[in-house]
C-alpha cells in the first residue's frame, strides 16, 4: 500500500480545544432538561391514576368471572408470605352479607418460552377449582399459545384439589387428569404445575388464618 497523503501528517500538531464554560455552552440542553422534566411530571400527575386503574382493572375484572360470576359481590385484596419466602397477593370474593364465595389467586411458572401468568379461581374451602385464566404468556403461536383457548382451560373447571392435577396425552380417565394441548406438553404441564402450586399456597393460607 503506497499511501501518499498530505492531509494527515503524523507529526503535525493540532491545538487542544479551548477551555470554555461548559454549562453556558450547553444551556439549551439544561433548559430543555428542566422543561421536559416539568412537562413529564405534569403528564405523570394527570395520567398515572388512569394507568394504575387500568392495571388493577385488568385483574379485578377477571376475579368475579373465576368464581362463577355472582351478581353482587365484594372483593378483598389479601397478601401472604409463603414458606418459600414469596409474597403473594390474592382476592377473596364475598357476597353482600360477607359470606365467602371463593378465592382467586395469581400463579406463575416458567413455560416453554417465557413466564406464564395465571389467575386461578377456587371455592371457599379450596376443595374445587372454579376456573382458570391465562393472563400473560409468550408461548409459540399455533401450539403453546392454545393454553389460553377455552378448549384447554375449561377442563380445569370443577376439578377437585384432593390430588394434584396431572397432564395426560390421551382422553383423561379421572377427575384430576387434564388432557395436554397437542404438541405443547411443556406449556400444558407448566399450567398444571402453576395451578397445583396456587392450590397449595391457598391451603397454606387457610391453615395459618383459620378464621
Amino acid at each position: 500500500m503506497s499511501t501518499v497523503s498530505t492531509i494527515t501528517e503524523p507529526g503535525q500538531e493540532y491545538p487542544a480545544p479551548a477551555r470554555k464554560n461548559l454549562l453556558l455552552d450547553a444551556w439549551l440542553v439544561l433548559f430543555l432538561a428542566i422543561t421536559f422534566g416539568t412537562a413529564l411530571a405534569f403528564v405523570h400527575v394527570k395520567l398515572s391514576p388512569i394507568v394504575q386503574a387500568n392495571i388493577r382493572n385488568e385483574t379485578l375484572s377477571l376475579v368475579p368471572v373465576l368464581v362463577g360470576s355472582p351478581e353482587e359481590f365484594d372483593i378483598q385484596e389479601l397478601s401472604q408470605v409463603t414458606p418459600s419466602g414469596e409474597s403473594l397477593s390474592f382476592f377473596h370474593v364475598t357476597d353482600k352479607e360477607a359470606k365467602g364465595l371463593g378465592w382467586v389467586i395469581t400463579a406463575s411458572s416458567i413455560g416453554f418460552a417465557d413466564r406464564i401468568q395465571l389467575l386461578v379461581g377456587l371455592d371457599e374451602s379450596a376443595s374445587q377449582i372454579l376456573g382458570i385464566r391465562v393472563v400473560d404468556q409468550k408461548e409459540t403461536p399455533g401450539l403453546g399459545n392454545l393454553i389460553s383457548d377455552p378448549e384447554f382451560r375449561d377442563q380445569f373447571e370443577g376439578a377437585p384439589t384432593a390430588k394434584p392435577l396431572s397432564i395426560v396425552k390421551s382422553a383423561p380417565a379421572e377427575d384430576h387428569q387434564i388432557r395436554a394441548v397437542t404438541g405443547a406438553t411443556i406449556s400444558s404441564v407448566t399450567v398444571a404445575n402453576a395451578v397445583n402450586q396456587a392450590v397449595l399456597n391457598l391451603k397454606y393460607y387457610l391453615e395459618s388464618n383459620p378464621s
Binding site: 497523503s5 494527515t8 487542544a16 461548559l22 454549562l23 455552552d25 450547553a26 440542553v29 432538561a33 422534566g37
Partner: protein, 300 residues
C-alpha cells in the same frame, strides 16, 4: 407543599442534575482525553448528521468523515444528510484539497477471444465468477474471461464486451469501482488520469515469456524493452512492466516505450474530448502534484 408541585420539582431537579453531571464529565473528558486530530476530519464530522446509522457502509459518521477527507470515499454517500450535506462536504474539502484527478477504470488485458489460446468449451453458468473456478477454461490464468461480470455491474454503460474482451469507455466511466470489485481475476484497476492520455499496461500475465507465448498472441513476454526509454517511470515487477503513476511524467516521451514493445502490451488510453485531434502529443493538464491522493497499489 402541594404534592403536584413537589413531583414537578423532583422531576425537573433530577433531570437537571443528571444533565449538569453529564455535561461536566464530558466537558472535562473532552479536554483531559484530547487527542490531536485533523481539523478537516472534525469539520466534516460536524457537517454530517451524526446519526451514525451506518447507511453509508462505514461504521459511524466519524469513520466516514475520515474516509472522505482521505479521499477513500465519495462525499455523496450520506443518506440522511442527502444532497445538502454532500454539497457542504465538497465545499469544505474543495477549498482545502486543491485539485484531484479523475480516477477511471482500465482493463489490464488486451487479448480478444481469438488471441487467447488453449480454450476449452464451457457450458456452465455464464459469469466470470463461475468460469474462474473452472481450471483450464483458457490457457491464460490471468487474463480476461469475457463473460461480462464487469459489464453487468456497471450502472453507467461504460463497459462493452468486444470479441470477448471488456473494453471501458473512459468518457462514460465515473470511477465508481463497481467493476474493480466484480472482476474475479482482479484485472481492472483505477488509475489517475493526470494527462489526457495515460499509459496503461494491458497484460496481467506474471509468467515467463515462453509460457505467455504458449497461451496468448498479444501478452507481455517480459522483455523489459519498454523500461529503458522511460527514465525510471516503468519498472519490471514479476515479469510485467509497472507504470509509476505517482511520478511526474512530464518530459518523458513514453511513446518510445510503446514503440519498443514487441507485443501489444502497452497502450495509451485517453479521454477523447477532442476526437478529431490526431493521437501523438498529449496535452498536459496542469495540476499540483503534491496533493496526489493515492488509493491502491497501482499495477500499471
Amino acid at each position: 407543599m402541594d404534592n403536584t408541585l413537589i413531583t414537578i420539582l423532583l422531576a425537573a431537579g433530577i433531570l437537571l442534575v443528571i444533565a449538569v453531571l453529564m455535561a461536566l464529565i464530558l466537558g472535562w473528558a473532552n479536554i483531559a482525553f484530547h487527542v490531536p486530530t485533523d481539523p478537516k476530519i472534525t469539520a466534516v464530522t460536524e457537517i454530517l448528521p451524526g446519526a451514525n446509522c451506518g447507511g453509508c457502509g462505514f461504521v459511524g459518521c466519524a469513520e466516514y468523515a475520515e474516509a472522505v477527507v482521505k479521499g477513500k470515499a465519495p462525499a455523496t454517500l450520506c443518506g440522511p444528510g442527502g444532497q445538502d450535506t454532500a454539497n457542504k462536504i465538497a465545499e469544505t474539502l474543495g477549498l482545502s484539497l486543491g485539485e484531484t484527478w479523475p480516477f477511471k477504470a482500465v482493463v489490464h488485458c488486451a487479448a480478444t477471444r481469438e488471441q487467447r489460446l488453449k480454450q476449452t468449451p464451457y457450458y456452465g453458468e455464464q459469469t466470470c465468477a463461475a468460469a474462474n473456478l473452472v481450471p483450464g477454461i483458457q490457457g491464460c490464468v490471468y487474463g480476461c474471461l469475457g463473460y461480462g461480470d464487469c459489464q453487468d455491474v456497471c450502472e453507467y454503460g461504460a463497459i462493452d464486451m468486444v470479441d470477448g474482451l471488456a473494453v471501458i469507455d473512459v468518457d462514460k466511466c465515473t470511477g465508481c469501482r463497481a467493476c474493480e470489485k466484480a472482476c474475479p481475476r482482479g484485472i481492472i484497476t483505477m488509475i489517475p488520469f493526470k494527462t489526457e492520455e495515460v499509459l496503461v499496461v494491458t497484460c496481467s500475465n506474471k509468467d515467463k515469456g515462453v509460457l505467455v507465448k504458449d497461451v496468448c498472441t498479444v501478452g507481455c513476454i517480459g522483455c523489459s524493452a519498454c523500461t529503458k526509454p522511460s527514465d525510471g517511470l516503468i519498472e519490471m515487477i514479476n515479469d510485467l512492466p509497472v507504470v509509476n503513476y505517482d511520478k511526474d511524467s512530464s518530459g518523458i516521451d513514453l511513446h518510445k516505450s510503446v514503440e519498443k514493445c514487441p507485443r501489444e502490451s502497452l497502450v495509451f488510453i485517453g479521454l477523447h474530448k477532442d476526437k478529431k485531434k490526431p493521437k501523438g502529443e498529449p496535452e498536459r493538464i496542469e495540476a499540483n502534484f503534491a496533493t496526489t491522493i493515492d488509493q491502491t497499489e497501482w499495477r500499471g
